[in-house]
């Protein structure tokens, strides 16, 4: 059957792949919670196993990202700009990438965080995972946004979701300050090189939430047109 004008008019929708990618990225970062549990239990076999798992999930997200990029030729007329869409995708992907980096560095150096900061650090990680989850909630409204043609109540709904995402991120910032203060008290008793990397990990966990928030702000740009 030769190609038909009406059916070839419709390009592959980027909505579902984008949502799938966000789900994959979130699945990857949410593994950080059991991962940190294992770190504080000093169960390095389990840590190594979870690190492999995170790395595998990150690869899956990468695969979805490539798929989506390949299906976005310049000739597509979409309700959102191609650039915004790709930016959201790239932010989502960076969430997974950073999670993989965190797991990799901790596993590689067998980093033993001081017992005292365990509850705070776990809460800190949890907040970053929350931010990514909230970004996923907003991204899941994408098909409804297309359905309503990016207008009306649906836009307000998504805006409120993004607001909540911003709140989670600033909460995450607040915890980061506490974690740093706690580390500052403990750092003199720890091996200096380890401390340098611990601060690095703390930075990176904060970046997770930052990136989730950026997914939200890119989405906001899509709404405003």
């Amino acid at each position: 059957m030769p190609p038909n004008m009406i059916s070839s008019l419709f390009g592959r929708s980027p909505v579902k792949p984008l949502q799938n990618h966000m789900a994959a990225a979130h699945k990857c970062i949410s593994q950080l919670i059991p991962f940190f549990d294992a770190v504080f239990e000093n169960d390095w076999d389990k840590v190594a196993k979870l690190q492999k798992e995170i790395s595998k999930l990150e690869n899956e997200a990468d695969e979805l990202k490539r798929e989506l990029r390949l299906h976005l030729p310049n000739s597509l007329l979409m309700p959102v700009s191609r650039r915004d869409l790709l930016e959201v995708l790239s932010m989502q992907d960076k969430i997974a990438n950073k999670a993989k980096d965190i797991a990799g560095l901790i596993t590689g150096r067998k980093m033993a965080f001081p017992e005292q900061i365990a509850p705070l650090l776990k809460e800190y990680v949890q907040r970053s995972v929350d931010a990514s989850e909230q970004a996923g909630v907003a991204i899941n409204e994408f098909d409804e946004l297309v359905e309503t043609g990016f207008s009306g109540r649906e836009v307000k709904l998504v805006e409120s979701m993004i607001e909540k995402l911003d709140e989670i991120e600033s909460d995450n910032d607040r915890i980061q300050v506490q974690v740093r203060a706690e580390m500052f008290k403990l750092e003199k008793e720890l091996p200096p090189i380890d401390v340098i990397f611990m601060y690095k990990i703390i930075d990176w966990i904060g970046e997770l939430a930052d990136r989730a928030q950026r997914v939200g702000s890119r989405m906001e740009l899509m709404l405003a047109r």
């Binding site: 059957m1 009406i6 419709f10 597509l76 007329l77 309700p79 043609g149």
Partner: protein, 419 residues
């Protein structure tokens, strides 16, 4: 007229061939958006197409047929030798039909309308000279090829924005859908009936005053609306389906509306595209029946419209159903609310063109309408390469139809003029 009967038989055969081609290929495009949105099944679509293509062709196909038959060339120039006109029309039919067959096989973008217009202009220039073509009429036809997609796009945009405002953005979309969708149904019935009565029914022997037309159209609109309301009442809504996608139940209501719109589209397509097959046939029959007089006044015999309608149905049933299945399943991301906006816009444009006697391409009009919905940010991804394809089809089809018809004309003349 030694070969009078023979010419008519030949013209009928070619006309049927062409009508078969229209039914086999074009109908699929007209029905594509309806099936693609999931509102009608393939079987339903074929049934709708069979009934409404035929009624469209029969009730509203006369005006465009008249244009193809005698609007493009100045037949007075051929009054001395009516055979030229007969050969020309036969050649045009054959050229357009053959070209369609070849191009469809090769997957090239073609339009039945463009091939037949190209073919008629082609033979007229060669056989009767450059001045025999009514260039201003041809000009307005060509302009309508640009105007019709743009107009359909604009209407589709407006329709979709109204759907957005009234239903999708409301605090209770489902309630508003049930409330407003019947009015859209009224619109479908009203517009279609009105245009048909204003322009189409004369040849069937029915003459109505303006007031009569309006009231009958309104009555038909109300009828469509009532049937629609009855169907919407029978719908079962399942709140659990809305969990994943909040508009699942709203789209069900649009599904009912889409059935009405699909009928409208089939009707519109029949009214415009049947002329491509039977216009030249009618011309041949007219000349032969008047004993070689190039009659410009004669009415269009109804059996010709019937023949065209039948040809389309046969094409649809023998081959078109396969194409419908392919096209329909290729369009998965069209929801009924989009399908409705695009299809009604296209149907309105096409019916208006039919009433004005302009042969336009239904496919191109539909593409314009879908793009209109896309511009209202209603569709996730549209492939703009199709616009390029449309331009290509103008560039390829017109000369190809012209050249083929010239070729066939020369052959026919060589065969018949010796006696």
């Amino acid at each position: 007229m030694d070969y009078g009967t023979f010419y008519i038989i030949l013209a009928c055969a070619f006309g049927l061939f062409m009508a078969w081609g229209v039914g086999a290929n074009d109908v699929a495009n007209a029905m594509g958006t309806s099936i693609g949105s999931g509102a009608v099944t393939i079987k339903q679509a074929i049934l709708i197409a069979a009934v409404f293509e035929f009624s469209g062709a029969f009730l509203a196909g006369g005006q465009v047929t008249a244009t193809i038959r005698k609007g493009i060339i100045d037949a007075q120039l051929a009054s001395g030798s009516p055979e030229i006109l007969i050969w020309g029309m036969l050649a045009s039919l054959l050229a357009a039909a053959v070209w369609l067959l070849v191009a469809t096989r090769l997957g090239w973008p073609v339009s039945t309308t463009h091939s037949i217009v190209g073919a008629i202009v082609g033979f007229a220039v060669i056989a009767l000279g450059f001045d025999a073509v009514k260039w201003n009429k041809v000009g307005s036809i060509a302009a309508s090829w640009v105007v019709s997609p743009v107009m359909a796009g604009t209407i589709a945009f407006a329709l979709f924005v109204s759907v957005q405002k009234l239903i999708l953005n409301a605090s209770n979309p489902l309630l508003n859908a049930k409330r407003y969708v019947p009015f859209y149904m009224f619109l479908v019935g009203f517009i279609l009936a009105l245009v048909t009565m204003f322009k189409g029914l004369k040849h069937v022997g029915i003459n109505l005053s303006t007031a009569q037309s309006y009231s009958i159209a309104a009555a038909i609109g109300v009828l469509v609306m009532l049937v629609g309301i009855a169907y919407i009442r029978r719908l079962k809504f399942d709140p659990s389906e809305d969990r994943d996608f909040h508009f699942a139940n709203v789209e069900k209501v649009f599904g009912i509306l889409m059935i009405a719109t699909a009928c409208a589209m089939a009707f519109a397509h029949g009214s415009n595209d049947v002329a491509n097959a039977i216009g030249p046939l009618a011309a041949v029959v007219g000349i032969v029946e008047h004993g070689g007089q190039v009659a410009q006044k004669s009415a269009l015999p109804i059996w010709i419209l019937l023949l065209g309608g039948t040809g389309i149905i046969v094409g649809l049933l023998t081959y078109g159903h396969k194409v419908i299945a392919t096209v329909g399943t290729g369009i998965t991301q069209l929801t009924p609310s989009r399908g409705f906006s695009a299809t009604l816009a296209a149907a309105t444009t096409v019916v208006l063109a039919s009433g004005t006697g302009l042969p336009i391409s239904t496919t191109h009009t539909l593409v314009g309408a879908v793009l209109g919905v896309g511009l209202a940010r209603g569709i996730a991804a549209l492939n703009l390469n199709v616009v390029k394809t449309i331009f290509l089809s103008w560039i390829i089809t017109l000369p190809a139809g012209a050249l083929l018809s010239i070729l066939f004309f020369l052959i026919l003349r060589a065969i018949f003029s010796t006696t």
